[in-house]
């Protein structure tokens, strides 16, 4: 029995292999496509787990500190929380031009970078560079912060130059998009990772945290985990931010108070100084008086002393005169004595003796007098000297005092200046202090942003890419499954037909029906099992990798980690086995019901029949004879026609779906930014738009239109469903060229109070129709009830347009307008214009539509690969189906074809005899395929339900044309191959008895 099956397989190897191939193809596609997304998700998931990709990202306008980190870490849901710093800067890499990059601190716990080359930095002057930006040849080169950075940015770092010592990937940047910045041309070229110590900031800019509980990325479990932890994490973050605020304000106030105290001290010192000065002045004045007194005293005393001295001198002179008179008298006495002596008169002697004695007395008296005079003279001299000295000293003293006074005066003058300065300084300090106080008082309570993974561009992009794949993976394998089933049916039916006689013989020999059927079941079953095994193995191993080559190149996630699900393989395999067995069973059953005798006779050829078309005489008559034959043949084998039409139709349908997906998806950016929101850019202001800013905008001649409008995020509620939406409320006058809202061809009028225009995506997902009521909730969940006045075509985002009057009904009144939508004059460099606007302090963001369009187009360009994949699949499918069916067609009609050849049909004529049918069926199939493809395309687009994008079913005429053309090319290839088979048909077949 097994041997008989083996022999059967050997003799009909081609057919067996075709069956194995189609089942393998179906299985391969099923396994491949359905396992690609799980594999891709697993790849990202394991990377995310390994790199500790964040679950929550906390940003505070005040920054964070280690305490805040610790507070968040203390939350029960938190596993790890790490503070990190990042800032955007303009840098000049070793080679190349100035680029804007994001400089981040190397994180150790959350979002751990993956080193792809080189080593980790060892000091503050070394860095890791984005592996998607620089290459290995840049290792060792320097990255310099350029002078075009503002002071704050330069101050943020300890150094201005980093040496690239390694390349790294970051889980924060798995895609190619590095995000936007206010610097340079507005796009980031890459990132640089620097050690913590390279930053001079003492605070963190961001906290990233991971949760204790884990769930696979993008899974429903993860979503619910995020939903569940959002509130506690937000609360913790806000509490931490508040604490940080209080700390910051407290510290500042403390410092301020210290400063104030210091100022008070300073003031006291000053006042002391002033007092000292005043004392000094007084002292000085006393000194001056004293000095003047001294001078007077000096003069008086000097006068007195001189008088005294003069008196003394006078006395002395008088004494000397007296003395001289004494001397004269002496001499006269002497003379008289001599005279006396000369007269020897002894009477005279006594006299003389008396005189002598008198003389001696006088002489002595004179000598005494002389001595007295000399003494007096000396005394006077001494006194004079003494007085001189004394007065010189006194003068000197006075002189010194004068000097001192002069010095004192200078000092006082200096002190006066100093005091004036000190006063000024004090005033300054006071003003500064007041300013500082103002500043401290002005420190705003920080705004806290709690962001989840969806806000990460790479993560979100990867999700939409895998979602697209998932949509395709859901639609296409089903198709292949159907086709494989059809091929099984035709092949097995044909095989059972061919073996009719053998079945009869076996039956006549007494074999049971079960045994006979078993053989066919074994044949088809083994083909199914083989096909499934090959298909599953090859599909699982190859297909995800092929798709990964396309997607993987756009994401830096490394090697694909295959996620092979045996359950899927076994399940799908069982299904295939079931289908092939069922078709075999149904094919056999009919034959087995007949008695052996009739089985042994060749089956009567299927009776010819007139077809409906023949009733239309005028048309039928005009048809060339052979066309009539073909037409009748087509309708003769309905099953085969059905198969062909399904097979070829399937091919066309797949092609059309592929092209259609591209049409629908690829132009979405163009459709949105050209047809719906054709403004050049939107400007976002930090605070409400001021008249000053408006005047600035009005003054820019390159700005053609600038339309301030309210834009904010609200919730749209309908029934139990709630959607986040962007609400836009322009002013009364509706500008040209900013919004073009249409419902199909119909231009929509702007909503009035109490009305709203909602986009099609919202209308669809909420099931809202025109004229129905919807409710908008602001962030405090205050409701505004609105009537839908129209549904507009929109492709990106979920937008609701309302009138400002409607918003005024909110408890808070009309919210602040912070957005301006603008159009530039033709020829304006939009990036330059954006840069000019960003220079203004009030502007926080300028979002250029063309950039967004380019980004979207880039993201969706992977669609082209999908389309190529689909074309390839369709080609293979078309080939197998057409080959199989044409082959069966030829086999079944071998005798007929041989006869035709014997009758003298030329090669091409006999080929046409067969192919005319194929051509007709291809036309029919293609036509059916266009219808089927239109439906399949709608189905696939329906599956591509991305939250932010609305795909309008759209297939351009060229796609219809291409689908049909490709189908015909595939059919042509099969027919060319078949032509050579026809050529080889031996005419002797015509002589044989019908089988």
């Amino acid at each position: 029995m097994v041997r008989s099956v083996l022999r059967e397989i050997k003799t009909s190897l081609g057919r067996y292999l075709a069956m194995v191939a189609i089942i393998g193809l179906g299985m391969g596609f099923l396994a491949g496509l359905m396992q690609t997304r799980p594999s891709m998700i697993r790849t990202w998931d394991s990377y995310a787990a390994q790199a500790a990709f964040f679950d929550w990202h906390l940003i505070s306008t005040l920054g964070w500190e280690e305490e805040d980190c610790a507070a968040v870490r203390a939350e029960s849901d938190t596993e790890k929380a790490e503070g990190t710093r990042e800032t955007d800067a303009l840098v000049l890499p070793g080679e190349g031009s100035e680029s804007a990059v994001r400089i981040c601190q190397i994180s150790r716990e959350v979002n751990v970078p993956r080193l792809t080359a080189g080593r980790l930095p060892e000091n503050a002057a070394e860095c890791l560079a984005d592996a998607g930006w620089l290459g290995e040849e840049d290792l060792g080169s320097r990255i310099v912060l350029t002078d075009n950075n503002d002071e704050d940015t330069l101050d943020a770092f300890e150094t201005r130059e980093f040496t690239v010592v390694g390349l790294a990937g970051s889980p924060l940047y798995i895609g190619t998009d590095r995000g936007n910045t206010a610097l340079g041309d507005g796009t980031l070229s890459g990132f640089i990772l620097v050690p913590e110590e390279a930053f001079s900031w003492d605070y963190y800019t961001d906290i990233y945290l991971t949760l204790t509980e884990k769930a696979e990325v993008y899974s429903a479990d993860y979503d619910s985990l995020i939903d569940r932890t959002k509130d506690p994490v937000t609360d913790a973050a806000e509490a931490a931010a508040r604490a940080r605020y209080e700390r910051v304000v407290g510290e500042a106030q403390e410092k301020l108070d210290d400063a104030r105290k210091e100022l008070e001290d300073g003031r006291k010192e000053y006042e002391d100084g002033v007092k000292d000065y005043e004392d000094g002045v007084r002292e000085y004045e006393d000194g001056v008086k004293e000095y003047e007194d001294g001078l007077k005293t000096y003069a008086e005393e000097k006068e007195d002393a001189e008088k005294e001295l003069a008196d003394a001198a006078e006395e002395l002179r008088k004494g000397r005169i007296d003395w001289m008179e004494g001397v004269e008298e002496f001499y006269r006495g002497q003379l008289s004595f001599r005279t006396l002596l000369a007269v020897p008169d002894p009477r005279l002697l006594p006299q003389a003796a008396a005189v002598y004695a008198q003389l001696a007395e006088a002489k002595m008296q004179l000598k005494l007098g002389q001595r007295e005079l000399a003494d007096g003279e000396k005394e006077l001299e001494d006194a004079r000297a003494e007085a001189d000295e004394k007065f010189a000293d006194a003068w000197q003293e006075l002189e010194d005092a004068a000097q001192e006074l002069a010095d004192g005066k200078a000092d006082l003058e200096q002190a006066k200046i100093d005091l004036a300065e000190a006063e000024e300084e004090l005033a300054d300090a006071e003003k500064k202090l007041a300013d500082a106080q103002q500043e401290v008082d002005d420190i705003e309570e920080p705004s806290v942003y709690v962001l989840d993974r969806e806000t990460n561009v790479g993560h979100a992009g990867y999700k939409s890419d895998t979602d697209v794949l998932a949509g395709i993976a859901r639609a296409f394998p089903l198709f292949f499954f159907l086709v494989a089933a059809l091929v099984c049916i035709t092949t097995m039916t044909r095989m059972v037909d061919e073996q009719r006689t053998q079945i009869g013989t076996l039956k006549a020999l007494g074999y049971g029906e079960g045994t006979i059927m078993g053989k066919f079941l074994l044949y088809s079953g083994s083909a199914a099992v083989l096909g499934c095994i090959f298909g599953f193995v090859i599909g699982s191993l190859v297909m995800p990798r092929v798709i990964w080559r396309v997607y993987g190149s756009r994401y830096s996630l490394g090697e694909l980690q295959l996620q092979i699900s045996p359950v899927l393989g076994i399940g799908a395999g069982a299904l295939y086995l079931l289908v092939s067995s069922l078709t075999t069973w149904s094919a056999c059953r009919r034959e087995l019901r007949e008695v052996p005798a009739s089985l042994l006779r060749p089956r009567a050829p299927k009776a010819g029949k007139r077809i409906l078309l023949e009733r239309i005489k005028p048309l039928w008559k005009r048809l060339p004879f052979l066309h009539k034959v073909s037409l009748r043949n087509i309708f003769r084998y309905k099953q085969r026609v059905f198969m062909m039409v399904i097979g070829i139709g399937g091919c066309t349908a797949l092609l059309l779906t592929g092209f259609g997906i591209r049409d629908t998806v690829a132009d979405i950016g163009v459709l949105q930014y050209r047809d719906v929101t054709p403004y050049d850019f939107s400007i976002t202001y930090r605070d409400a738009l001021t008249a000053e800013e408006e005047a600035f905008l009005a003054g820019q001649d390159w700005l053609e239109t600038a339309e301030p409008a309210f834009s904010g995020n609200y919730k749209l509620v309908k029934g139990n469903t709630e959607k986040s939406v962007e609400v836009i409320a322009p002013a009364e006058a509706i500008p040209e060229g900013i919004w073009l809202l249409h419902d199909g061809e119909e231009a929509l009028s702007w909503p009035e109070e109490g009305q709203a225009l909602i986009c099609r995506k919202l209308a669809q997902s909420l099931g809202v129709k025109k004229g129905e009521k919807i409710t908008l909730l602001d962030e405090d969940r205050s409701p505004i009830s609105l009537t839908v006045s129209g549904i507009f075509d929109n492709y990106i985002g979920k937008t609701v347009y309302v009138s400002q009057d409607s918003l005024k009904a909110l408890p808070g009144g009309m919210p602040e307008i912070k957005t301006v939508y603008a159009n530039c004059a033709a020829g304006t460099d939009l990036h330059a214009a954006a840069a000019r606007l960003l220079e203004r302090d009030a502007v926080i963001n300028v979002s250029i539509s063309a950039d967004k369009e380019a980004l979207i187009s880039d993201t969706l360009s992977s669609m082209n690969y999908i389309v190529m994949l689909v074309i390839l699949c369709s080609g293979v499918l078309a080939f197998i189906v057409l080959y199989n069916l044409t082959n069966i067609n030829i086999n079944e009609r071998l005798q007929e074809i041989a006869t035709v050849k014997v009758l003298g049909f030329y090669s091409l004529e006999s080929a046409w005899y067969v192919f005319r049918e194929n051509l007709l069926l291809t036309i029919l199939g293609a036509a059916a395929g266009l219808v089927l493809g239109y439906l399949l395309h709608g189905y696939v687009i329906g599956l591509l339900d991305l939250e932010e994008l609305y795909f309008e079913r759209r297939i351009i005429p060229l796609s219809y044309l291409l689908s049909v053309a490709f189908t015909f090319v595939f059919a042509l290839i099969v027919n060319v191959v078949m032509f050579f088979r026809l050529e080889r048909i031996n005419m002797a077949e015509a002589m044989k008895a019908a089988e």
């Binding site: 009539k628 003298g904 005419m987």
Partner: protein
Amino acid sequence: MSFVEFRNVRKVYQMGEVQIEALHDVSFCIEKGEICVIVGASGAGKTTLLNILGGMDSLTEGSVILDGENIAGCSRRRLTAYRRLEVGFVFQFYNLMPNLTAAENVEIAAQLVKDPLPASKVLREVGLSARENNFPAQLSGGEQQRVAIARALAKNPKLLLCDEPTGALDYVTGKEILKLLQDTAARTGMTVVIITHNTALTAMADRVVSIKSGTVENIRLNENPRPIEEIEW
């Protein structure tokens, strides 16, 4: 010069490594307007002979001259043209297109040549006027073979090749068919070659070529071919 002339025809089939000599040294000729019966047992080489004669197969050696043209060296296309324009075939199993009515089956051959006989006329000649719009499945074996003969005749061929024309028919019907062939030959002066294993048919022939083991065993001319009605087997 004879209408058909086989000269030392040899046919070797290459079956893998083995060469099988199906015909060797076959020489005979058939004159225009003759009914020639080629008779031989199964495996004698009849079919190979027929294939060569019908321009469906090539020969290894020798020459086959048909109406003055040696088809031994002809291209496939020329052979096709020969089959198309000059030969009418009647098969053992009729080989009618099941999907075409009797008239259409005639027409499919007729449309191949320039001046075909009208289908209805030919069908009338084979006695099937009433059934011309019936499909083969609605006809008896004899009627189907008549349609087949009509199909061959409609081309107005120079040579009518019949391969076991009665092989699938009962005795009476077979006889009717043979009669039709004989009458047609007599009426139109067409050369008819009948290939059969049934030696009884030799009686109706002008010329009998007996084949055995791949070569001509005997060629016999019948001075007085007997009408079919008189032949029994």
